[in-house]
């Protein structure tokens, strides 16, 4: 174990996988010599060279296209899209090709790509540098979406993603890049499609992801002071998400709050809320409550952004409400 930031943990995972398997290579804008906009690939260029640490032009479609094509002939590309907001530009490549290659050719080809990208708001990045974009892909069969919230999981999930044979969007929250945590040495895997119970509790289940998992834990701490015992679940894989762990928890606590940094209309939070209400209908003591971003783009002003993004207090209030109204 050693203490490191999520950036370091991700770097460690990439380094390990590139050392182990020469089919693994990285491509993206400024990921080579510079080491990436957030430093995740720092040092790898010196170690693995320009062939395996490929600087690309600003061509997101070509980045994903090249990743998918090379994966179809046996490579294991790790592509970086600098900010997740830019995935709009290569959306077709992800949705109509990467996600469908395996199915439409009935299993002949596969597209084991990992697309790393920095997501999320809270730093005044404005409307095109702050979005959570899992909602863009939730309704897309064939796609897998992974989003770590701790350095330990970041390393384990990235290794698992590179080894997995499906196309994976790997979302790294900017607010968590420099947050430190204990990370095991050596190679290990954090399983995909398996949520993490970040905190056990008995009165209400809070389902969250990435940054919001942290806010939810803080909220749970406060709730404990009011004798509300909250169980916090960090989804880790957002599509397909771990229904079993969530439903088991809700059947125990009989109350659920779903927290998401994305807008409340459509998207992940709606899916989680719907599945809970559909599958655990008889067990629920109160309606599921969602705590999400407001239905707006993300404003530049940090003050305004704070208003539209969900906060700790919003989670606390929601948990209190489901607890008291039942």
């Amino acid at each position: 174990m050693s203490k490191m930031s999520m950036v370091q943990a991700l770097n460690n995972a990439l380094d390990m996988m590139m050392a182990e398997n020469e089919k693994v290579y990285c491509l993206g804008e400024d990921i080579g010599w510079m080491g990436g906009d957030f430093g995740v690939t720092r040092g790898l260029y010196d170690k693995y060279g320009s062939e395996r640490m490929r600087d690309t032009p600003l061509s997101e479609s070509a980045i994903i296209g090249a990743a998918v094509g090379s994966a179809m002939v046996g490579m294991r590309p790790v592509a970086e899209i600098m900010f997740a907001d830019f995935m709009g530009v290569c959306y077709d490549q992800l949705v109509n090709n990467a996600a469908k290659v395996h199915y439409m050719f009935d299993g002949q080809y596969k597209a084991p790509i990992v697309v790393r990208s920095a997501c999320g708001g809270g730093f005044g990045g404005g409307p095109h540098h702050s979005q959570m974009i899992e909602g863009w892909f939730m309704n897309v069969p064939g796609m897998v979406i992974v989003a770590p919230s701790t350095p330990e999981d970041a390393k384990g999930l990235l290794i698992a993603s590179i080894e997995d044979d499906n196309p994976i969007l790997f979302l790294e929250h900017k607010a968590l890049y420099s947050k430190k945590g204990e990370v095991p040495e050596g190679k290990y895997i954090t399983p995909l499609r398996k949520a993490r119970i970040a905190r056990e509790g008995s009165d209400v289940t809070i389902v969250a992801d990435t940054w919001m998992a942290h806010k939810s834990l803080a909220a749970a701490q406060m709730l404990a002071g009011e004798d509300i015992s909250a169980e916090v679940i960090d989804l880790r894989t957002l599509r397909p998400w771990d229904q079993e762990t969530v439903l088991d928890s809700v059947r125990k606590t009989r109350r659920a709050v779903v927290v998401s940094e994305s807008p409340g209309t459509g998207g992940l939070s709606a899916d989680v809320s719907a599945v809970i209400a559909e599958q655990a209908f008889g067990d629920l003591k109160a309606a599921v409550k969602r705590v999400t971003a407001l239905d707006t783009p993300i404003p530049f002003s940090v003050k305004l952004e704070k208003i539209i993004l969900p906060g700790e207090e919003d989670i606390i209030r929601a948990a209190q409400q489901v607890y008291k109204h039942s």
Partner: protein, 325 residues
């Protein structure tokens, strides 16, 4: 003009006929309701397809487009499996899940069409890159229509292929129209090779209905790429017979020129007869044999079973199954 053996010439002629007869049979079956979905045929473009097919090795990659049915079997896949795919049958090369617009065959490095026009131009970069990194001398050919040159992926693909000297052969099939839209109307120029020339790669225009000229140009391109010199762009000038769903929309004289005067199969046949490589009787015999073979493929497709219902939900993800109803 290139010198090729009589044997090869005859083989290519025979292949052009395969393409022609395949498409004609398909049109017939489509009208009878046996072929689902949409239909785009490559009639009129046979010389271009055969020139490309004969320049590629099995180990080379191919991204066929929506008019490339002929290329699908010319690349090496048994024709009946292509026909069956277009009929949506279990015996099809993708078990009926891909159809006309998505018929891939990994065993011959056919990467399948992507019905979002232009999109696979960037996928091809990856195939070329992967092989380049693996030290292979294989190249990847991409078929693309003149209309497809409007897509942004065009630029990203040409630019990166040139910057990274990737082994990509761009086969631009300029048949004059994108559906109803004339190439010169929708683009800054109707001579598309001029676009590609800006990307620091050789870019040429060739008569796509002149089999030998098209073949020669393609051979030259393949040599260039195989030597590690990077991508190459060829614009094949040709014409598609297929009109619009409401019928023929082009000028009478234009139609006559392309269907009667500058028709690739007729041109090659006449040339062979003139050169003494074949007699009219031999050509007729070949045609009959091809026709019979194509009908066998149709029969195979027709008699093949529908896909197993289980196929509907298999191969979405690798490693787990999606829920059924």
């Amino acid at each position: 003009m290139m010198d090729i053996s009589s044997e090869l010439y005859l083989k290519m002629y025979c292949d052009m006929l395969h393409v022609r007869k395949f498409e004609q049979a398909l049109e017939r079956e489509f009208k009878l309701g046996n072929v689902p979905g949409m239909l785009h045929t490559g009639i009129g473009q046979e010389a271009t397809m055969v020139a490309v097919a004969h320049s590629l090795r099995t180990t080379d990659g191919l991204f066929p487009d929506h008019r490339s049915h002929g290329l699908l079997f010319l690349k090496g896949t048994p024709g009946e499996r292509i026909m069956a795919e277009l009929f949506g049958k279990a015996t099809g090369v993708c078990s009926g899940k891909g159809g006309s617009l998505h018929s891939a065959d990994k065993s011959v490095n056919n990467f399948g069409d992507n019905a979002v026009e232009g999109s696979f131009m960037v996928t091809a970069l990856g195939v070329g890159l992967g092989w380049q990194m693996q030290g292979s001398d294989a190249l990847v050919a991409v078929m693309l229509g003149d209309g497809t040159a409007g897509e942004g992926a065009w630029h990203e693909s040409l630019n990166l292929a040139a910057a990274w000297k990737l082994p990509v052969l761009y086969c631009c099939v300029n048949n004059g129209y994108a559906i109803s839209t004339p190439v010169g109307k929708s683009h800054a120029t109707g001579d598309l090779y001029k676009f590609a020339a800006a990307y620091d790669m050789p870019s040429v225009q060739v008569d796509g209905n002149d089999l030998l000229a098209a073949y020669e140009a393609t051979q030259k391109a393949v040599e260039h790429i195989r030597a590690g010199k990077g991508p190459y762009f060829i614009e094949y000038m040709t014409w598609r017979w297929q009109g619009l769903f409401m019928g023929e929309f082009r000028e009478k004289e234009e139609v006559r020129y392309w269907k009667e005067e500058h028709e690739p199969i007729k041109l090659a046949g006449e040339d062979m007869v003139q050169k003494g490589i074949a007699t009219i009787e031999l050509l007729k015999k070949i045609e009959n044999e091809v026709q019979e073979e194509i009908e066998r493929w149709v029969t195979f497709a027709k008699q093949s079973p529908d896909p197993d219902p289980l196929k509907a939900t298999t191969n979405v993800y690798i490693g787990w199954e999606v829920e059924t109803r």
